[in-house]
């Protein structure tokens, strides 16, 4: 499934990008270029071929790791992305881990002690956090922690300290939605009959919550975490700009500003593909932790 999906994603992104009005050859050479030079470059770069042919050639090259060269710098797109990718991945992973570590336990707490002070405060804060635009939160964090208190650096990604503010900023909306989701699924789970059975057996409350309820309540949370990662890869674009971090997110913004189409296409495909591969891992993980799916595979064999 992965390969056809990848092909389709490349098709969509490539298709959208080729909708760009104007002649790409003109864009590269500037307005003062002669018509002959433009026609020559058009032919050289294959813009005079039909879309499907260009798409086919693009895919064939992309399979060998060649996403073309940047129109602005002339450097291979793949090389530029590969240089920046680790920063983006480190930042997103840090944010996801942070969000799960904060969101899930608080969600469990809110559900187990429904209507208690933990529940009210937790869900209220989550509601506020889900309404705050991430980039604004980032700006306010810079204003407070970097400019006023001078505790943390406001831009760059040179040391661990540099990652704190952007990772927290990225994690907050994810943590908020994980808290809400965990609370809902947990509330549903603890009303199930098998929880009543476990309690009736005289099982300790801790064991009931962690062994019986949590395991079942976490299944949808795993999928949601994977899906949230996709939103995070989108959010990374704005957050990297706010904190001036040289990742793929900032690269794509700069490329859009300079109308560097191959670079934009390459970045978009790269990010979408990494999200897809991650979702594949989530599916595999799911088969591993959900006994129902495991059983259905065993039946098939």
């Amino acid at each position: 499934m992965l390969v056809p999906m990848l092909l389709a994603i490349i098709f969509i992104v490539y298709g959208i990008m080729s909708l760009t009005p104007g002649d790409p050859a003109q864009l590269i050479l500037g307005t003062r270029a002669s018509p002959e030079a433009i026609a020559g470059l058009r032919h050289e770069m294959g813009f005079d071929k039909p879309f499907v042919v260009r798409y086919g050639e693009y895919v064939a090259k992309a399979a060998r790791g060649d996403f073309g060269n940047s129109w602005r710098t002339g450097r291979p797109v793949f090389q530029v992305i590969a240089g920046r990718f680790p920063t983006t991945i480190k930042l997103s992973l840090a944010a996801v881990v942070l969000a799960v570590l904060v969101g899930v336990p608080l969600g469990v707490l809110a559900a187990v002690k429904q209507y208690s002070i933990f529940d009210v405060i937790g869900t209220t804060i989550a509601m506020f956090m889900a309404s705050i635009p991430g980039f604004w939160f980032g700006l306010m964090a810079i204003l407070f922690f970097s400019l006023k208190l001078r505790l943390l650096p406001s831009n760059g990604a040179d040391s661990l300290k540099h990652y704190i503010l952007p990772a927290v900023t990225l994690a907050i909306p994810v943590a908020a939605s994980l808290l809400r989701l965990t609370r809902t699924t947990m509330l549903e789970t603890i009303r199930q009959d098998y929880i009543r059975t476990a309690r009736a057996k005289g099982q300790t409350e801790g064991k009931v919550i962690f062994r019986h309820a949590l395991k079942n309540a976490l299944l949808p949370v795993v999928t949601a975490t994977g899906m949230e990662f996709g939103g995070l890869l989108g959010g990374v674009v704005t957050i990297e700009t706010v904190f001036s971090i040289n990742g793929v997110g900032m690269l794509i913004i700069d490329a859009i500003r300079m109308k560097d189409i191959p670079q934009v296409t390459g970045c978009a495909i790269f990010l979408a593909a990494s999200f897809m591969i991650l979702m594949l891992f989530v599916d595999i993980l799911y088969a591993y932790i959900d006994p129902r799916i495991k059983a259905s595979y065993q039946k098939m064999n």
Partner: protein, 292 residues
């Protein structure tokens, strides 16, 4: 015939009344509704409160003045009144948020309704395409479309609409699937009612609850995304006022004029919060399991 029609009419009314009654009991949801109504009212009467000129022109003598009685939210780096800018920007943000959701719902609704109602091959073709598009993170899809079309309000709106379609197709399809198996649909089919009539008259009205909840909440999300694209310089272009664009301009004056960063962000957050509160309240009001 007259009699039956009359009956169904009163029942429908009382059901709507019931939802409204339960929503009214939810104090937090009413706060959300109140805030959003106030924002809507301010947006509509923006021209009466302060002229548009005040939002796009300012005198350099008034540069970066902190909030005062003459400039409630202070002035920006061009001496423009921030309150007037925020007020007039709300029109663009609301148009983008509500517009994207309305069109997304209509197109996504058509696709989702077809997929859910007809099932089989129609379903698998539509959902295959949707599943692929949904693999591209939302913001990335918006940016790719804006990059291709160029910046500006209309192009951002188009990008948001298109990017909304897959999500709505999924939501509406699953809402429809819960209805399609019911006996009354079977009954309508056996009476020979045309398919499109069944979808419009019987399926959609009964599946509409979760769709409305989703719509209310995504208007807030759309407003945030629209502001993000403007913040990145891809959306509405200066000197037109827009919340995200205002925040982008404020970046260089954060230390000297922190109010420039605060107020536009408050505006976005308050709008999104009021919509989220309303959506939450609506969901509870529509949930039959929570009925008293």
């Amino acid at each position: 015939m007259e009699d039956i029609d009359f009956n169904s009419q009163t029942r429908k009314k009382s059901r709507r009344g019931e939802i409204w009654r339960r929503m009214k009991k939810n104090r937090i949801a009413m706060v959300g509704l109140f805030i959003f109504s106030a924002i809507l009212l301010l947006t509509i009467s923006a021209d009466l409160i302060t002229p548009y000129d005040k939002a796009i022109t300012g005198s350099l003598a008034d540069r970066l003045t902190p909030p005062s009685s003459s400039h409630w939210f202070g002035t920006d780096n061009y001496g423009r009144d921030i309150f007037a800018r925020i007020l007039h920007a709300s029109r663009r943000s609301l148009v983008m948020g509500i517009g994207a959701v309305l069109v997304g719902i209509t197109l996504g609704g058509l696709l989702g309704a077809c997929a859910g109602y007809y099932g089989g091959r129609v379903d698998s073709v539509i959902m295959r395409i949707i599943d692929t598009v949904i693999c591209i993170p939302f913001m990335l899809l918006v940016l790719a479309i804006v990059a291709a079309l160029g910046p500006g309000l209309v192009n951002v709106l188009i990008a948001l609409m298109i990017s909304m379609i897959p999500t709505y197709t999924r939501v509406i399809r699953s809402a429809i699937l819960t209805v399609v198996g019911q006996d009354y649909i079977e009954a309508a089919k056996s009476c020979g009612t045309p398919n499109r009539w069944i979808i419009l008259k019987h399926v959609l009205p009964n599946a509409i609850g979760p769709i409305i909840v989703q719509a209310t909440m995504t208007v807030g999300t759309m407003i945030i995304w629209a502001a993000s694209t403007s913040f990145l310089g891809m959306g509405i272009q200066p000197p037109e006022p827009e919340w995200g664009a205002m925040l982008a301009e404020s970046k260089d004056y954060m230390l000297t004029a922190p109010y420039m960063v605060m107020f536009p962000g408050f505006a976005i957050a308050l709008t999104a919060l009021s919509l989220n509160l309303m959506g939450d309240g609506l969901r509870d009001a529509l949930d039959p399991r929570l009925k008293d």
